[in-house]
Structures are given as C-alpha cells and as structure tokens.
C-alpha cells in the first residue's frame, strides 16, 4: 500500500473516531413526544436493596399500565416511566439523576433509596426537579422551603412518636412506663434516638431506664439484653435493621426479655422479612407501617382495586404486601400531582417550579385514596405523612392491627432547626 493510501486510511479512521463523539455526545435532549408525560424513577434494581426495590417497581409499572389503559393517562396524556438502576452506587445514582433531568426531561422523579438523598439533594435543587423520596431519616429532610425534595413516608422519628403517643393513650399503669432503647451504631438509628430521647425526657417525662447500643457487625448482644432485662423495661424501642436486628431479637427471645417487655420495631420491612427467617423470635413484635395493608381491603376500596390489578398482572407473584402497596401509592401520588399541574398550567407550561407549587398548595391531605396517611405538604413543610398504622405480629404469620392511622402531635418549634435532628 502506498504512503498516500496509508495516510488516507489513517485520516479516515481518525476522522471517523472524531465524528463518533460529535454525533453521539450531544445527545439531543429527547424532544417530548406529543402527549407524553415522563416520570423518572431512580432505584436499585441490583444491589443489597433490590429485594424491596424490584417489587415496588413492578407496582409502579402495573399502575402505569392501568392508568394508560383505563384512565386515559394523566389528563389525557400517556405516561412514560423511565427507570435508572443506581445499583446502590452514589456515583452512578448522581449520573442517573443528571440523565433523567437533563437528557430524558422528566417532570418528576421518585428516588427509591434514602441513601441517595445527601448526594441527590443539591442536584434536584439546582435543576428545580420536584422529587419524592422515602425520607425515613428526618435529618435528611429539607429545612428550607426552597428545596424541591418532598417526603413520601413518615420519618423513623415520626413513627416512634406515633407509637409513643399510642402507648400514652392506652397506658393503664399508675407509674409511667419504663422505656428502654436498643440502638444501632448507624446514622439512621442515632438520628432517630436523639429526638426520641428529647420527647421522652421533655414532653412525656417517662424514665429511660436503659440505653444499649450495638454495632452493625455485632454477633453477640447478650450483655445488652441482660441489661435491658435487669432494667425491667415495659417497652424497648429498637431502631435496628438487618442482621443486627435479627441477632437482637433471637437473643431477646432466648433470654426471656420478651416475656415481660414489649419490643417496638422501627419499620415493617425487617419484621416481615424476619418472620420467614425466625417466626418465633418475631412473634409479638410491634412495628409501624406507612401504608394501608392487605388486611384492610374490606374497608379501603383502593386496596381491593390494586389487589385485583396485582392479581391480574402478576398471578404468580406473592400476595400484595406493604412494599408493593407503597409502590402503587407513590405512583398514584406522582401521577395525581402531575394531573393537577397539567389542569392548572397546561401541558406546555409544565415546569419544575409549577409542579412544586402544586405539591405545596394542592396536595395537603392527599392520601392516595386511603393507601397512605394524609400528606402535610405546604410551603413550610415537605415532610412525609404523620400517621402510621401500628401493628403486631401474631403466631402463624398473622398480623394484628393495633391502631389504624395513629396520629402524632406536632413536634415542638425546636424541631424546625436542623440541629434538633443532627447527631
């Protein structure tokens, strides 16, 4: 081959390689298809939390199909769900948010992993992207009205505030109940225990007779359980998760702590998982659910509706559980928000600021037709609902609902300062 041809080949290849990024890099923002509303979902389809994320996503998809097929979409516009798998990786999740916002041009985002929130908050505020997220950790909540983050479920501290209020309303003893705390050396637990202790000491004035802590890698909590037992607690608040929680429950059961003390779990997730692993250790546990349950289908029509949709769409899937119900609820919340925004502003004038206005002014009291507690959103607060369902596990994998939609009293004005929640 002659030098000229060789150089020609070289130049051709170089030009081709340069042209590739030129052609592909500027991913021209996908022009909105006529009549399509895009909703973004940042979730973990792979990774440690996939077991709960995938069923919730399936519910989102089922509801989307139902809305497009039976309700003519949102205000006449078809809905499209764009899912980004964050893989429990913050760096990838940040890229995913940028993609959903800048490339896919979604109108609202649901972030399904609370671990993403610290990294996600500045991005969603920078681009004015209304975002709904599970905000179990109150310290992650926005404390300025300029934030575009909205809480979808009660914070852990709110959940315990509900259950302590329930205890107060139902306590029959002459002396105040003796409270023990079993905490975990993890941010979510520490940030929950701090406001709880404030509540117990300053509002309820109940004695905290024992406070024990364990680490995420603990395999033996005998001394902690012994101390709790010796303190003769009436209730033990246990903001735990994962393997440490199971270790504690098994040890508590074996040591007889549960014979005289009522354990109160933080959130329904672990309780439902551990029931399968160790039914004996999980029986008799009280916990909180942010959403209505299948057991309430006779009184909550929406449960019956989504149960039918679930059975038709996924006949081989397990029964409707709380994870799937929250998936339906989150979709309904986002779709109804967008519907109101379109009705008020029109499809062509849908912006992040407009959607945020709707969330702050027209979504207060919204409860997804009974699936979740009423939202308290306003210009002053973006927190999740303040109502939870208090339930208890019974033998043979049963569930007893102790209180439907237990309300909590508002936190004092000190709680408006973010330092109230910081560890």
């Amino acid at each position: 081959m002659s030098r000229i041809s060789k150089a020609g080949v070289f130049l051709f290849v170089a030009a081709f390689l340069l042209a590739l990024p030129l052609a592909g890099c500027k991913a021209a923002p996908l022009a909105p298809k006529e009549g399509v509303i895009k909703v973004g979902l940042l979730t973990d389809l792979t990774g440690p939390t996939a077991a709960s994320s995938v069923p919730a996503l399936q519910s989102d998809e089922d509801w989307l199909k139902y809305v497009n097929a039976n309700l003519n979409g949102i205000a006449g516009y078809k809905v499209e769900l764009i899912v980004f798998d964050g893989r429990y990786d913050n760096n990838l999740a940040v890229s995913g948010l940028e993609k959903l916002i800048n490339q896919d041009k979604v109108y609202i985002i649901f972030v399904q992993g609370a671990n993403y929130l610290p990294a996600a908050k500045p991005i969603i505020d920078k681009y004015h992207m209304p975002t709904v997220a599970p905000t179990e950790m109150a310290v992650l909540l926005p404390h300025t009205s300029s934030s575009f983050l909205f809480g979808a479920i009660p914070s852990y501290a709110d959940m315990y505030r509900c259950s302590l209020t329930w205890i107060k309303d139902n306590w029959k003893g002459k002396e105040p109940p003796r409270i023990g705390i079993m905490g975990l050396d993890a941010p979510f637990s520490k940030s929950t225990v701090k406001p709880l202790k404030w509540m117990l000491q300053n509002e309820l004035k109940w004695p905290i007779v024992a406070e024990e802590w364990m680490t995420m890698t603990a395999t033996d909590v005998t001394s902690q359980v012994t101390n709790l037992k010796n303190a003769k607690c009436d209730y033990v608040l246990m903001p735990l998760t994962g393997a440490p929680q199971l270790v504690f429950q098994k040890t508590a059961k074996a040591a007889g702590l549960t014979d005289s003390t009522q354990l109160i779990d933080i959130f329904i997730t672990m309780m439902m998982s551990f029931r399968k692993l160790d039914p004996a250790a999980t029986t008799g546990l009280i916990s909180h659910s942010p959403c209505a349950l299948l057991e309430m289908k006779d009184e909550v029509k929406n449960i019956a509706l989504i149960n039918d949709i679930h059975k038709q769409s996924r006949p081989d899937a397990p029964d409707l559980d709380w994870i799937r119900i929250t998936g339906y609820a989150s979709s309904m919340l986002m779709f109804d928000t967008l519907g109101k925004a379109i009705n008020k502003y029109g499809y062509d004038k849908l912006t992040g600021d407009n959607v945020k206005w709707i969330m702050e002014h027209e979504m207060k009291g919204y409860n997804a037709n009974g699936l979740i507690g009423p939202l308290p959103w306003s210009t002053e607060t973006h927190t999740g609902p303040h109502d939870v369902i208090i339930l208890k596990t019974t033998p043979n994998f049963g569930l007893e609902i102790l209180k439907k939609w237990q309300k909590m009293p508002p936190w004092p004005k000190e709680a408006n300062d973010v330092n109230f929640w910081k560890m």
Binding site: A27, V54, L81, I82, V83, S95, V139
Partner: protein
C-alpha cells in the same frame, strides 16, 4: 518511540521528546481543541460523566505511579481520594479559602497522609502491604464517618463551586474547563515523573527491589516518594470531583472504589500513562452505557428494567473478566499492537 522513516534524533532534546513529529504535535493540538470545544456540543448529562471520568483519571494516575511504576500495591486509594475531597471542601466551605488554593493543599494533605501510610511499605511488600493499605482505608473512612462535627458524618457536607473574578463555575459547562486543565497538567507531570531518574528508580524497585538497593537506590526514600506522589494525585482528583458534584458523602469512597482504582490500571495496562486513560474510559463507558441502555429499554418495553437489570450487571462483570482473560496486559498493550500493525501493514508485525 518509533520514528517515521527519514526522521532521526540528532539532539538529546529530540530523543527525549514525547511529541517528536509534526503529526504528533498536530494530533495533540487537535485533541486539546476538541476537548476545549466539547462543552459546546455536548449535553449536560454526558458532560457530567466526562468531568467525573477526568477526575477519576487524575486520581488513577496516582495509583499508576504508586502501583504500576513502583510496585507498591494499595487497596486504600479511595480513602486518599476522600482525604483530598474533604480537605478541599472543608477549606472552601468552612474557612472561606479560595478553591484555587484549597485544591493544591488538598493534594498535599492527601500526600502527607499517604506518606504516613507509606511508612509501612518500608518493611512490607506484596500481600502484607495490601493489608496495611486496607487498614488505612478503614481507618481513614472511620474517622471521616465518625468525626461528624467536622465532616457531617454519613450525611456528608457541601463542596461549594469555585469562583474566580466574580464568575462562579457552577454549571458543568464552566467547571469542565477547570478539570480539563487539571487533567492536562496532571498528565504532563505524571508522564515526566516516570521519565526522570525518579521514575526509573520506581521501575527498578518494582522489578527487583533487592537489585535496586544493591545499585544504590534508596528504597525508603523512593517508596515514600511514590506514596506521596500517588496520594497527592488522588487528593487532587478527589477535590476536583467533590466540587463538581457539590456535595460529598462517605459512600463515594468505599473499599469497592479502591478496588476499582486497581481495576482501572489493570484493565488499561500496568506501568503506562496511556493505560490509565484507556482503563478509566473503558470502565466508565461500560458502566454508564449499560445503565443508559437499560433506562432506554424501560421506555420501550415496560418491565424491561426489573427483568434486565441483573443481566446488565452480569454483562458488566463478564466483559471485565473476558477482557482480562484475552488481554491481561491491558488496553495499552493492545493499542501498541494496533499501532505496530498499522505501521508495518501489509507486513507482519
């Protein structure tokens, strides 16, 4: 370096030149111009990925010097990146120091921490050094997570955007230029370090530290130097990435990330500067590309996400493994083979 026919080195400077021929200078200029023009025709999402990739390359240059050139295995590189990120963020956010001063200080701080960790390398090597750097990873991240009053703990802290003469570099389009210039400077420094007597000493230590010592190379000094330089690069890369994102959390600097830094230089090619570029870009494209494909599929076929997400992860791992099976010397080696093939075509290389 191969020279085209009728091109000869007649001076020492010509012999040592990295860019020797006009074509090489032309390609360099074209590359820089292309880089400078990139924000003009690239979307925000792609630009964010490019900025992150460039920051990672800067940090990976550090571990290439440390591990690829000097043979000091480290599985704590992500922690040094974190040191740089938090140092810079703290200096800018809490003391009001200028970003332009904070970033070099962050590099020095990370380098000094690396120096302390490097003290263990004087007597340790191989797997024992790995354990030592693993300990550094856990210790540094433990301090960051639990010193909540300083770092914000698990909830992170903000890293403000840089300012210069009243201009705030808050958009990816503007911040890109800062990272691009940083990358050019880091590459220039790294390339020249490995060509000096310091770089040769590193290579000698890597190949046979006993022989190097017999030749008169001060092992202690050069090993510590490798740690300092490598960790300084990590600190600067971390600082640039932190201010690009605007917030930093400990979740960005896990042990897995440290393994990935090793992975970048293995995939790209150990002991080469170009290998760092190849490795980081290859993994970044693969990672983000698969996630983007999955997101696109979810709009076409409802239900694709939950079905195909594990498959994407599987493909990601499989590509890495196959690559290492068929090209264990890295992409840089494959690139050299390609260049040789092209140069000698139609003759066999």
């Amino acid at each position: 370096m191969h020279l085209p026919s009728r091109t000869f080195n007649q001076t020492y400077e010509q012999d040592m030149a990295i860019f020797r021929t006009r074509l090489q200078w032309l390609l360099l200029a074209a590359g820089i111009v292309f880089g400078l023009c990139l924000p003009l025709f690239t979307g925000t999402y792609m630009l964010t990925i490019v900025i992150t990739t460039m920051s990672i390359i800067i940090a990976a240059l550090g571990i290439q010097i440390m591990t690829g050139y000097c043979g000091q295995l480290s599985v704590g590189h992500s922690a040094f990146v974190a040191v740089g990120a938090y140092t810079s963020a703290l200096l800018v956010a809490q003391t009001g120091l200028s970003f332009w001063i904070a970033v070099p200080i962050a590099g020095i701080a990370a380098g000094l921490i690396g120096l302390i960790v490097g003290l263990t390398s004087i007597r340790l090597k191989g797997f024992y050094l790995i354990i030592s750097t693993l300990a550094a990873q856990f210790i540094i991240m433990y301090i960051i997570i639990h010193w909540t009053s300083l770092t914000g703990g698990s909830f992170g802290m903000s890293a403000p955007a840089p300012k210069l003469a009243g201009i705030e570099f808050v958009t990816p389009q503007s911040y890109f230029y800062i990272v691009f210039v940083g990358l050019l400077m880091a590459t220039y420094v790294a390339k020249n370090i490995v060509r000096t007597n310091v770089g040769r000493a590193f290579i000698a230590i890597r190949d046979n530290d006993l022989a190097a010592e017999v030749m008169g190379i001060n092992l202690t000094a050069y090993k510590l130097m490798a740690f300092f330089i490598g960790c300084a690069f990590a600190g600067i890369g971390g600082a640039l990435a932190a201010h690009a994102r605007g917030v930093i959390t400990p979740d960005n600097y896990t042990l897995i990330e440290s393994f990935w830094y090793l992975g970048y230089i293995i995939i790209g090619g150990l002991g080469t500067i170009t290998g760092v570029f190849f490795g980081v870009i290859f993994v970044t494209i693969l990672n983000n590309g698969l996630a983007t494909i999955l997101a696109s599929l979810s709009t076409i076929f409802l239900g694709a996400s939950s079905l195909l997400a594990p498959l994407m992860l599987f493909i990601f791992g499989l590509v890495i493994v196959l690559f290492l099976v068929f090209e264990p010397r890295g992409l840089a080696h494959r690139w050299e083979i390609f260049k040789a093939y092209y140069r000698l075509w139609p003759f066999s290389h």
